[in-house]
Amino acid sequence: MKIDAQKVEERIKERLHFSSDIKSRAVKFFNCNVIIMYIAEITDNKLLNDTVIYPITSYSKTITGDKYAALRDKVLSSIELNELDVDEATDKLLHAHTLVLMDGAPKILTADMEKITVRAIAEPPNNLVIKGPREGFNESLKYNLALIRRRVKTDDLVVQNLELGKLTKTQISVLYFSSVADKKIVSEIVDKLKKIDIDGVVDSHYLISYLQKNPHSLFKQIGDTEKPDILLGKMLEGRVGILVDGTPIALTLPFIIIEDLQNSDDYYGQPIHVTLVRILRLVGVVIAVLLPGIYIALEIYHYKIIPLSFLVTIMNTTQGIPFSPFVEVIFVILLFEILYEANLRMPQYLGIATSIVGALILGETAVNAGLVSPPTVMIVALSGITFYIIPSQAGQFSVLRAVACLVGACLGIYGILLFCVYVLAYLSSFDSYNSAYLAPTAPYIASDQKDFMMRATINEMKNRPRSIANNRNNLRRRGK
């Protein structure tokens, strides 16, 4: 089948509903009609001119034999070309490829001319570090892959590309180290990704509900990061990374809960200090989730646990408050959450004003008006602040905190204890891609304690963590 350039052009334009941004340019190549088609907004014009249009129009050498072959092999030899039929070429056009249609040619030539317009590589706002790399992913998959490739110079790194979304045709890359990651898990993930039937993938979070085993669970079962060093660190432990075009957030699997207590800073800091910080984070979690609930329980049921001098202080301040402790705490929590939501979405200069209004005026007047007591405000504020010790789990914690408050009000300390056991039992019951969610605590894995609450020095961590289902090649390095 020979191509009639004009007809093919018409056909492609028709298929794309004569979209205005599809440009075509006709040139002559040794008396032969050549039409160059591209989408102007996503095509790099300079590249197009330099590598396609100029070589075709200015080619002066004589051609003997097949013009199409000459165009392909000699004129456009400086770029990577594909030879495709009409339908495939149309798809490529949408992926910022430039099509070269030539009368009488057997195929359409396409070349990637994508104009990459991305924001600069910057430090992600929710992954700030004091020491350590500050590069963060941006919205371009290519750039993001480059950030990884730049750090890894081995044939072990595998990048497997997929395209998802019937309408968006989003590029997705699955990354792993072939010698480290468990092949079974990789193929399970790739299979799951391939089976996704969805119109469009706007962000990597669209994939989460397809990939996690308990989609309705409150707890996060897939890790995410915006930083190449973290992604690489996790991949070195045997995890699989997923990068999605159009989003700076990379996903990592399998995920275990301890990952949220760890931070990239931890590996760049002094081990003893890091150990203390990790303990602090864990205590922070307990305070964040349980403190308001325990306070309610103590107030309603167990004042005898409170030391007398402290009890007197509480009694003095809670005297005359019209609400029950539960309502009081929920009121303050609500106030806090509303302020947080408002603050988050407000322009920055207004945000400062809201903080002042929220913290000073609302809080102070509520206490002065006798609506809430100072201990309640203090306890909810403490709980609210400690949430952000582990920002990635703040959403889950606020739900758990609300449940703990409810249980504390209904059943007291006993209820809160059973609630804790329930949460523990729930967490121990699920595995994320063959990795126990609570590992290395339950099941206890002795060798992984080096990077659990306490952190050993990097040279002591000889083995890859066993908590993660990785290839059994567990030795990080040889030597002592």
Partner: protein, 399 residues
């Protein structure tokens, strides 16, 4: 879903200390005074020996569950009778823990606590854990275990200086008979290895370390002895009036009336440990029902256990003098029979039947089960994988 050897040891440890720190020390004192410490030691050592026996049998039984194993050794009728007796034992143990916990919670934590509010969340929790299986219980136990251990040591150590060693003297002033009477009467508080019978085929012995079991057993024994020493040493003649060993000890160790905040944390952890223990016995109860009535799924046996837990609290309120039932000689005979005689009979029968051959059947299913276990619990052989890697590395180095 199997549990690994370490988790088994932890369950044994939790089981060994489960019933020991509520009413038991005060009850023992009524019969054998401060010499009760030796009663506890004696019975716990016996429980330890039984743990070895049963685990040895479980290891040799391969993938067979207790029903299949007993059936092959003793026949269906005897098996079912034994299982019914075991069911009774677990029912009693659950009742014991549940009632102890209820008294404790109602008396120490609340002014008024309705049985409904006590039992409903507990039944729901137990049901959930049982339904999720032994691995879930074991994992929760694994987390809770260390906190409980540290907590108990903390509370007891605080009171240690107040314990008078002289109050233990004279030793055995009325001879040894009160000790044996005490051991007989309160036997249902012991027998903490019997639950292992119901875990046949659910333990992965691939990383078995006998030393680990010895360590956990010793830890349990030393811990109980330490607490009892401090308890009897501190309270002396008033020991029988202290029904809540740990909380009373922590209360007494502090100068102030209210229990100190840290001690409360420990008491709280203790409640958690009791809940886990209740779930463990509930699981055994559920398994026994499954085997007796040949039920394949977990749903109905779990509901039966939940109902039982629920009814337990109700019975306690309706039947006056339920506590006395626990102390009746009939109950002691049944518990001694189930705790000590049945495991021994099964052990001997198993040894005779499989004198030279192990019933381990290395068929396909077996391997499949193990493979699952290896992936989920990471019980793959670390040494093997490391040595493999080392070999590879060695080769590379040579090249």
């Amino acid at each position: 879903m199997k549990i690994n050897y370490r988790q088994t040891c932890i369950l044994i440890f939790l089981s060994q200390i489960a019933l020991k720190f509520l009413a038991l020390p005060s009850l023992l004192y009524t019969k054998s005074e401060s010499n009760s410490i030796f009663v506890a030691l004696f019975l716990m050592v016996i429980d330890g020996i039984y743990a070895f026996l049963i685990l040895n049998l479980a290891e040799n039984s391969g993938e067979k569950n207790i029903y299949e194993f007993m059936k092959s050794c003793l026949g269906t009728v005897v098996t079912k009778i034994f299982l019914v007796l075991l069911l009774v034992k677990f029912a009693l143990s659950m009742a014991n823990i549940s009632k102890g916990l209820e008294f404790f919670v109602a008396d120490n934590l609340y002014n008024e606590l309705s049985w409904f509010a006590y039992i409903l969340p507990l039944a729901a929790l137990i049901g959930y854990m049982i339904y999720k299986g032994i691995r879930n219980i074991a994992r929760v136990g694994e987390i809770v275990c260390w906190f409980v251990l540290v907590g108990i040591i903390f509370i007891t150590a605080k009171s240690f200086s107040g314990a008078e060693a002289e109050s233990f003297l004279p030793l055995f002033k009325d001879g040894l008979s009160p000790l044996f009477e005490s051991a007989f009467k309160y036997s249902s508080w012991f027998g903490s290895s019997t639950f292992l019978l119901l875990l046949f085929g659910k333990i992965d012995f691939s990383k078995k370390k006998t030393g680990q079991l010895v360590r956990y057993l010793l830890l349990a024994i030393v811990l109980v002895q330490f607490v009892y020493y401090v308890f009897y040493g501190v309270f002396q003649v008033t020991s029988p009036t202290h029904n809540f060993c740990l909380s009373d000890l922590s209360q007494f160790s502090s100068l102030h009336t209210s229990i100190e905040e840290l001690s409360w944390l420990v008491v709280a952890l203790w409640i958690v440990a009791q809940a886990v223990q209740l779930a463990l016995y509930g699981y055994c109860f559920q398994q026994a029902i499954k085997y007796i009535f040949n039920i394949k799924n977990n749903v109905f046996p779990t509901i039966v256990v939940m109902l039982y837990v629920f009814v337990l609290s109700l019975i306690g309120d309706l039947i006056i003098g339920l506590e006395q039932i626990f102390l009746s000689p009939a109950v002691s005979v049944i518990t001694i029979c189930t705790q000590y005689v049945i495991p021994l009979v099964i052990f001997i029968a198993g040894k005779i039947k499989y004198k030279n051959k192990k019933p381990r059947n290395k068929n396909k299913d077996d391997n499949q089960q193990r493979a699952d276990d290896v992936v989920t619990e990471h019980t793959f052989k670390q040494d093997d994988s490391q040595s493999e890697t080392k070999k590879q590395d060695g080769k590379k180095g040579a090249v």
